[in-house]
Symmetry: C2
Subunit: 206 residues, 2 copies
């Protein structure tokens, strides 16, 4: 039965696994989601995949490297989700912001631990480079939204930062609270509406 589980990630093959790196990432994310970050161990990962305890080191120089890679895939998926949320929409800023906020919060709720990992502080200076690039790939979406909103006169004037930071702070803060279950119990759908309306008022032209 544990063998059945292993088969999901490991080709029935011997010696060379085939795609151990991808299997490690997949399994690691499942563990993260199901048992939390503290329960993530390289050795257990290796056991689950039917591979020796040192095999993972061929693909990730240490545990942090695996976490960094995991965060990277998270940013990729987040960017994809946000981009998808903007497709087939009208040009109204309010409409687009609404969609983006919901997509972001949806991602946060569906990937709470992963999101936490993505924003945690301890990335290697080196892996940082790829991470920064990944972050920009999606934050550009927000910037674009803002610039376009300003052009259409639906947003107040000001530098992208002065307008964007409060918006992003609100979005990020709400997603974080919702994902960690820190909001008053009943407040769920309704609260998100309130937050979106709040952002629109805060960012409205003078």
């Amino acid at each position: 039965m544990p063998d059945t589980l292993a088969r999901m990630y490991t080709r029935p093959r011997s010696y060379h696994h085939g795609d151990l790196r991808a299997a490690l990432l997949t399994r690691a994310e499942e563990t993260l989601r199901e048992k939390g970050p503290a329960a993530l161990s390289l050795r257990e990962l290796a056991r689950d995949l039917g591979v020796s305890h040192a095999a993972p080191s061929r693909h990730f120089k240490d545990k942090q490297a695996l976490l960094d890679a995991l965060a990277l895939t998270g940013f990729d998926r987040l960017a994809t989700a946000l981009k998808a949320s903007q497709e087939g929409l009208g040009e109204s800023f309010a409409e687009r912001l609404d969609a983006m906020v919901r997509a972001y919060v949806g991602f946060a709720l569906g990937n709470a631990v992963l999101l936490d990992l993505m924003y945690s502080i301890k990335h290697d200076p080196e892996a940082s480079e790829a991470l920064v690039a990944a972050t920009e790939r999606w934050s550009d979406l927000l910037v674009e939204l803002i610039v376009e909103g300003q052009r259409r006169g639906e947003l107040r004037a000001g530098t992208t930062e002065s307008v964007g930071v409060p918006i992003f702070a609100t979005l990020h803060g709400y997603a974080n609270l919702a994902a960690t279950g820190m909001l008053p119990p009943d407040t769920d759908e309704r609260a998100l509406d309130d937050v979106i309306a709040f952002i629109l008022r805060g960012a409205a032209p003078e």
Copy 2:
């Protein structure tokens, strides 16, 4: 020389330490601040304090219990800081909010790792009763601010939640971004002003 360090926390005394529990908490927070949460180990703590590796277990049943206690002191200090920020102020909501936001962000910047710990614990299965009480002790301050702001007509109508959640989300989100160093490099003082103004607009009466 390591002895000198130990003396800071340990009475030169033998066998019974005197106040090992408090010394553990103090030293643990320093370690957290200086070397991050991953570097915090019960055994090293014990070594630093010149005590055997099992001694801490007399005061904290396991590592998580120590982290919980640490979070608890964090909430206490946060509540104190927020309360202090409201003293000697006028009654204007704008003024009081400004002070509270700055106090919160100040705490977040000065206690980044601890704050992270505080919020990661709550989400845990059964947050201890004391912990829940501690969070309420300070969130009541925010609630009070909101209710009073509404009474004075400086805040829009609505349930405390519908008004408070967006405000707190913004505050929490900005503090979090600032503390994890995720804001554009130059944006520091100015950005906080923008955020406060943003909150006031978002929460203003219709």
